[in-house]
Amino acid sequence: MSAGTVSLREAEGPYFGAFGGRFVPEALVAALDELDVAFRTAMVDPAFLAELGSLHRSYSGRPSIVTEVPRFAEHAGGARVLLKREDLNHTGSHKINNVLGQALLTRRMGKTRVIAETGAGQHGVATATAAALMGLSCVVYMGEEDTRRQALNVARMRLLGAEVIPVAIGSRTLKDAINEAMRDWVTNVAETHYLLGTVAGPHPFPTMVRDFQKIIGEEARAQVLDLAGRLPDVVCACVGGGSNAIGVFHAFLDDREVELVGFEAGGEGVETGRHAASITGGLPGVLHGNRTFVLQDEDGQTVESHSISAGLDYPGVGPEHSWLHDTGRARYQPVPDAEAMDAFRLLCLTEGIIPAIESAHALAGAIREGRRLGPDGLVLVNLSGRGDKDVDTAARWFGLHPGSGS
């Protein structure tokens, strides 16, 4: 990479540096090729783009607003902190951006059934929503452990007509839900589209999901320029698989003066081994169809991840993030559960906004970055989702349930 001359925004799969590719059974290659062609054709088809744009405006509520949070920022070294409000989208997170695009593609490919994996349930809810809207049948795979900690979202998906299948093998979380979705896909690929929710998986998923999410950063870049008259010093996002992070980073990739920081789930601390910080604590390997950083043992067995946030509880990460880390264009840092929960509560109390616990990792990062920059700093945070689904988890964490004595 010769700094300043090559546009990082033009990077496309299958490979991002040494990462990405297609490590999949041959049986899926034809479907991936079909999807790749359908995607690339659609993205230059004015009719497709107009339909997606119309859904953004009149269904999911784009453009999402930017909110300045001065009372929160007092705790962040006095820097200006701006939130990109993906939490205000229909279904409550950024996930709908990708889902609407892929659901339209599903229809264009003549397929009638979508399957999805979900961790926190946000992607599952978004997929169930789009399936209802477009008359597609929908099955969502969800780790049994996650169906317990995100029971509200299970009910939402079922209300929307989706079948939710708890996955009771392995660690019973997101990675196992992806395994099961891949098994379903390889069996039913003729009529089924696997509506993958993050920027991981085999090519073209990392590129396609990014392209459906990059609208976040495109809007935010213009909004920040409008509001502050300049670009932010730092852009903060939480990183599990990494779709909201790549979505907000992408528009800034060629603005070399803007620092991009991804905050991984530090769980109980990277040093304890109980975390989900794949870049900080993992090694390059192959998981779920792509080469990327993976939490793995010396034999290459995937190590179970741990996070209070179901949506970040994943032992891999999108290959473009691995590449951005490798090239130094973005930094990745772990945020432990406790620090994320402190930031969660702080935003509730200072601004009247209940964030998703996933997004609270980015808020914790913004506090760190704001303190580093001081009062002249300008920090953009992608508030990727809202916290309704996390109320029970948060109430337990802070001891707020009746009879808990607080």
């Binding site: 490590f23 059974p25 041959e26 093998i169 392995g170 098994r183 069996t187 690929v189 192959v286 290459g300």
Partner: protein
């Protein structure tokens, strides 16, 4: 080293299909799994497919998933699979390791290939590695003369069938159905069509896997394929047995049933 080529050629000369049997190392424990591979051989299996346990076996159905989970909980490691291959090869039967790619990636492709060659293993079957991503493995297997078996599927285009078959050495693994491993009531026509399509683009032997569980199904597949691959049915015999001796007996008797099947296939 014992490659699979001569064994497939011998079966062909005898007017029958070869029988390929799969078991994962470490289920129910390493020692018993190796004994079970020997029992398969005693029952008439021509080539042993040694499964390397992996935490995320996304091409496998519930039977093999559960067995592999047990193997991992017992601490089974890739080097146990190498040792199992050595035990099989030392009995004069070719052993192919069936492994998901991250295991080899972490071990080191060249180092893994070198260890396979050292113990006399035939090579690898790689269910989640397509030739497009296999440059390092193609080089290492060429340098060490190891077999490399890639999969083709009913969904493969003619162009990919040709490319994949040309990249294979030993045989081409034809996945008979769209799906994961597991026993099935019938193998169906997709396998026959896939074998025919593969033969039009390649002279390599074609073995059929996914779904074969008894002698009659083996006979049916043996009617058109060079080899019949059986996995989940063997694992199920091990899982259902009351004790070690019953387990080994059940594995051997299934192998005998299947071996008779592959010999019946061409008679009809």
């Amino acid at each position: 080293m014992t490659g699979v080529g001569p064994v497939l050629a011998r079966a062909k000369a005898e007017g029958r299909a070869a029988l390929v049997g799969y078991l994962p190392v470490g289920f129910p424990d390493v020692e018993t799994s190796i004994a079970a591979m020997r029992a398969m051989v005693a029952g008439g299996v021509d080539i042993v497919e040694v499964g390397v346990p992996y935490s995320d076996p996304l091409m496998d159905g519930p039977v093999i998933q559960a067995a592999v989970d047990t193997a991992l909980q017992q601490g089974t490691r890739p080097r146990d699979a190498v040792a199992a291959a050595e035990a099989v090869a030392s009995a004069g039967v070719p052993a192919l390791l069936m492994t998901y790619w991250n295991i080899v990636d972490r071990y080191g492709v060249r180092r893994f290939a070198t260890d396979l060659a050292r113990v006399g293993a035939a090579g690898l079957i790689t269910p989640d590695l397509i030739p497009d991503e296999a440059t390092e493995w193609l080089d290492a297997s060429d340098a060490l003369g190891l077999d490399r078996v890639f999969l083709v599927a009913p969904s493969s285009t003619d162009e990919r069938l040709k490319m994949t078959a040309q990249a294979c050495r030993g045989f081409v693994y034809a996945a008979s159905v769209m799906g994961v491993t597991g026993t099935r009531v019938s193998v169906g026509d997709a396998a026959r069509v896939l074998v025919q399509r593969t033969r039009t683009v390649s002279d390599a032997p074609v073995c059929v896997g996914l779904g074969v569980s008894n002698g009659d199904q083996a006979a049916e597949v043996a009617g058109y394929a060079d080899g019949v691959i059986v996995g989940s049915a063997f694992v199920q015999r091990l899982a259902e047995a009351q004790d070690r001796s019953a387990a080994l007996g059940a594995v051997r008797s299934l192998a005998e049933d299947l071996a008779a099947g592959v010999r019946r296939g061409r008679e009809r």
